[in-house]
Amino acid sequence: MSSSGTFVNRKVLLLIAAIVVLLASVLLPTTAHSQVDTFDFDTNEQQDRFRTLSDELRCPMCQNSSLSGSTGGVAEDLRREIHRMIMEDMSDGEIIQFMFERYGDFILFRPRLTGATVLLWFGPLLFLLIGGLFAFRIWRRARQISDSDTQLNKSQQDRLQALLGEKT
């Protein structure tokens, strides 16, 4: 009994460990900082802004990595530009606008909300609503069925009595 108890505990522990690893891999930032160049900043806040911006802007040449995660030539140039603009006291909005004017929506990992991107932003919600609607209707119908079908009508009652009578 005790051995099977520890076995179960081990299983539970394994399960918890697996969930923790899974959650960690989803929740923790996974951006790779493969950049080799270093920049000097006056304040930590400037450095944080640089990091955030180069994580949020996409490398135009290498498709699936951010500017911070890319060693491509154009990414290097764009990081240098971000550094320059931060040191010139430009706001994050102005820096993002600068990039957008040259490279378009592509460079933004977080797409702007426009007519063309409405589905991208709210599509998941739409699917959730559709799914929810179907689930609700199925649930409601299931409840109606169980309510009406638990009552036997007269002939069913008679038949039930007859069957029970045969047995006893």
Binding site: G73, V74, D77, L78, E101, Y103
Partner: protein
Amino acid sequence: MSKLKFYLPVLGFVVVAIALWRGLYLDTKTLPSMLIDKPLPSFELTSVDGSGVSNSDLPGQIFLLNVWGSYCLPCLIEHPTLMRLSEEGNIPVVGVNYRDRQDLAIDWLQENGNPFSFSILDESGRFGIDLGVYGAPETYLVDADGVIRFRHVSVLDETVWQEQFLPAIAELRAEGT
């Protein structure tokens, strides 16, 4: 009614499946240029041969702006096309020597031939950023007013020239610019 209810999810599945299937074949490598119908960004740089160049040195007619570099292998593939265009003399070709070194650029032009009226030396890639360049080769079609009208990313070979540039140029000429 119940038949419709049955087919609705099936229809939905088919629509989504077709959309996703087509999505697999979308060209995600070519970025649309933000500078179409915008004037060529201003520059004041030197050319590969060392003289100062700015927007006022651009040809006052329809011309090609070709982004190249001595490190760029695909540039060698499109080079014969650019050489032919330059020899025919119907349309000037201006170069942007992008993220390169001046001495390497000069060697490359001597070795392979120089199709460019002049080449803007953009060692830092800063002018390239203003153009929205993300890698050589890229070729822009600029009209007589210095407005960018068309961009092609990657190799400009004879097919691309025939199928994309010639119609675009014909359209510009018809507009009378």
